[in-house]
């Protein structure tokens, strides 16, 4: 058992971190997703990791780095595909809003019977323009007319697509939670009030400590889930994945709220990046099952379940 990043994984992490820092500084991230973002990530092999022989644990390491950098795009849906892809679960309330719809080549639609189809964006009856005021300014959404024009059936097990999507989304959230901790800590060291850094006040220091614990627990839970996907004999897939998505989603959201608080008035400005992380965390909470969905899934693995 070696439940830590191997030397190869450390090298992978450092490589992708350097790529993200070099090519996706925040001023570019703030420009949002476009074909060049996809092309650069695809060139780096981000979407073809599995085909190239990498493990789910490797993929989790990579997506964590994308989350740290808040790299925009329907990245999880693009994973394992050649073309720019988004996706949505048509059985969900509110699913007439689709992320990135106007910018993609394909859309994966999950129907209420959990069958998957690949649809051309124009066939989901997109109105040409994105909605005017998306929650996350870097995640534009288009409103569909709900009825799905039958696409090409996708012969993929729903459970795999769903679990893998949940894993990569969790990993991305871990990266956000970690980066938010760093941002809050840096601000707590630099910002002075009452003639001392605000990080010397326990009310602030303890917020930061809790952020770090949340991010770390979410990280190990996500890595454990990835290891179970890689080797199903090492644990319960349902329990591990649900736990990871719950903890990672909450860590990203709570750390976003905490960082806003640590930044004070600055935290409520458009200029400081914190809100972009928090808004993305809320958006990702709606993808591949939110915390309630996964809590129910986890509960059904526990004694006393009627499910």
């Amino acid at each position: 058992m070696n439940f830590d990043l191997t030397d190869d994984q450390l090298a992978l992490r450092d490589g992708i971190r350097a790529l993200v820092e070099g090519r996706f500084p925040m001023d570019r991230v703030r420009d949002g997703f476009d074909r060049s973002v996809h092309a650069e990530l695809a060139d780096a092999g981000v979407f073809s990791l599995r085909a190239d022989g990498f493990s789910w644990a490797d993929a989790a390491v990579v997506f964590e780095e994308l989350g740290r950098g808040l790299v925009p795009g329907p990245l999880v849906w693009c994973f394992g595909r050649d073309r720019i892809t988004s996706g949505y679960d048509a059985s969900l309330a509110g699913s007439d809003l689709v992320e990135f719809l106007g910018l993609v080549d394909d859309v994966v639609v999950i129907d209420p019977r959990r069958a998957l189809a690949l649809v051309h964006p124009a066939d989901v009856v997109a109105a040409g323009e994105p909605e005017g005021w998306p929650l996350d300014p870097l995640t534009p959404v288009w409103r569909t007319e709900k009825q799905v024009i039958a696409g090409e059936p996708l012969d993929l097990p729903f459970a795999d697509v769903w679990d893998q999507g949940a894993l990569l989304t969790a990993a991305y959230c871990v990266g956000m939670a970690d980066r938010l901790t760093e941002m809050a800590v840096a601000y707590a060291q630099e910002r002075q009030q009452f003639d001392r850094p605000i990080g010397s006040f326990q009310a602030v220091k303890h917020i930061c400590a809790d952020m770090a614990v949340r991010a770390e627990l979410a990280r190990v839970a996500t890595h454990a889930a990835a290891c179970v996907l890689d080797d199903p004999a090492t644990g319960s897939r349902a329990r591990a994945l649900a736990g990871a998505k719950v903890l990672a989603g909450e860590a990203a959201i709570l750390n976003g709220r905490s960082a806003t608080q640590v930044y004070g008035g600055m935290g409520f400005t458009w200029e400081v990046d914190v809100h972009l992380f928090l808004k993305r965390a809320w958006v990702l909470e709606t993808q591949f099952g939110g915390s309630d969905h996964h809590a129910d899934a986890l509960a059904s693995t526990m004694p006393g379940s009627h499910a």
Binding site: C208, V220, A221, A295, D296, S305
Partner: protein, 379 residues
């Protein structure tokens, strides 16, 4: 990164599982909580059986009775003993989980030979005399005095919250040997033989109604100099070694109890909102367990990770959440402590988890400073 155990580890697991099955079959019933003599016998008997079967001191050196097994087998041991609901360390807590490891790290060859095999065989029970009435979180302010007199330290002072004080053979004792030095510089770490003249032990009653800890009154107790671990006045450094075990790894064992408890609680949890809460608790417990695995891997590779700063903090709070959920779920069945399952008693016990071995506030201070690099607290 993987969670696969090696073939050796799996063979170890199979043997252990078979052994536990027979060993647990003829285990005597657990004695009442406040019968300390009987508890001592029960817990140390089990420790002796573990020793005889080759399961004691898995990560301790072979020459002192340990197994020098790979850390992964320690995890297998915890997993399997949890699964089989085997007794846990009980009164051997201090000896096995922090006094012993401190002696392994800091003791002389003579001290190791004198104590380690006995701890592993269940022949020597330890208690901890660190805290004082005036020195809790600010432990380094302690005032119990030790004055050198030839081959002895003459110790006078008072200790409090001493778990297992009533039955301990030896105590981890912190004393002030240089009252002139700055407070962190004048402390010495001693092994206190509890049968020396001048020691009075007064049990203290806890919220559980039983006496889980005691006060120690020390009146000119003559402690031989060879009982000193580390150098004179270097005791604060040794204390930090002890605390790194106590806060870092000792509580892993309690995770074992918590994972059993949550499985036992689950069938009582029927309301869907409560079941969601249960899921959050399970997710967090699983994550603390995963963090433990990471910690074990990292320490085997000599990597300093974050686990030791986080495991106790996270674990203690999730246990309290579980306890609160249990109380809500059981409704009026909580009106007796010994009624429905161990849940009410465990809720009471868990009140101490965020206090003992460094409060959660102190843990957050330490994490903020040492891991995150935030400004230091006054000290």
């Amino acid at each position: 990164m993987d969670l696969r155990f090696s073939d050796d580890d799996e063979a170890f697991r199979a043997d252990l599982r078979a052994w536990l099955k027979t060993a647990l079959a003829d285990l005597a019933p657990q004695p009442p909580r406040d019968d300390w003599d009987a508890r001592r016998v029960w817990d140390t008997d089990w420790q002796r059986r573990l020793f005889d079967a080759g399961y004691a001191g898995l990560n301790w050196p072979k020459e002192y009775g340990g197994q020098a097994a790979p850390p992964s087998q320690q995890l297998v041991f915890l997993e399997e003993t949890t699964r089989a609901r085997a007794p846990y360390v009980g009164v051997n807590f201090v000896g096995l989980l922090h006094a012993g490891p401190t002696i392994v790290a800091e003791g002389t060859p003579e001290q190791k030979a004198a104590h380690l095999p006995k701890i592993l065989r269940g022949e020597e029970v330890w208690c901890q005399g660190f805290s004082e009435p005036g020195s809790g979180s600010d432990l380094a302010s302690l005032r119990t005095r030790a004055v050198r007199d030839g081959d002895h330290y003459v110790v006078t002072g008072q200790k409090i919250w001493c778990s297992y004080g009533q039955i301990g053979d030896f105590g981890e004792l912190l004393v002030r040997t240089d009252p002139e030095a700055p407070k962190h510089k004048g402390i010495t770490w001693l092994m206190l033989p509890m049968d020396l003249p001048g020691i009075e032990v007064r049990p203290l009653k806890t919220v559980l109604g039983s006496s889980e800890f005691a006060e120690l009154f020390l009146d000119e107790v003559r402690v031989p100099v060879e009982c000193r671990v580390g150098e004179e006045n270097d005791g604060w450094r040794v204390t930090n070694v002890t605390l790194s075990f106590e806060r870092g790894t000792a509580f892993v064992s309690d995770l074992v109890d918590a994972t059993r408890l949550v499985e036992d609680l689950a069938p009582y949890v029927t309301d869907p909102a409560h079941r969601r809460e249960l899921s959050h608790i399970v997710a967090e417990l699983d994550a603390v367990w995963a963090l433990t695995k990471r910690n074990v891997t990292q320490s085997a590779r000599g990597v300093a990770g974050r686990g030791p700063y986080m495991i106790k903090l996270a674990y203690s709070e999730v246990c309290q959440k579980m306890g609160e959920l249990a109380l809500r779920v059981l409704e009026r069945d909580i009106l007796t402590v010994d009624g429905e399952g161990p849940f009410v008693e465990e809720r009471l016990r868990s009140l101490a988890f965020t206090i003992a071995a460094g409060t959660s506030q102190i843990q957050r201070n330490i994490l903020g400073e040492r891991v995150l690099g935030l400004p230091r607290e006054p000290r």
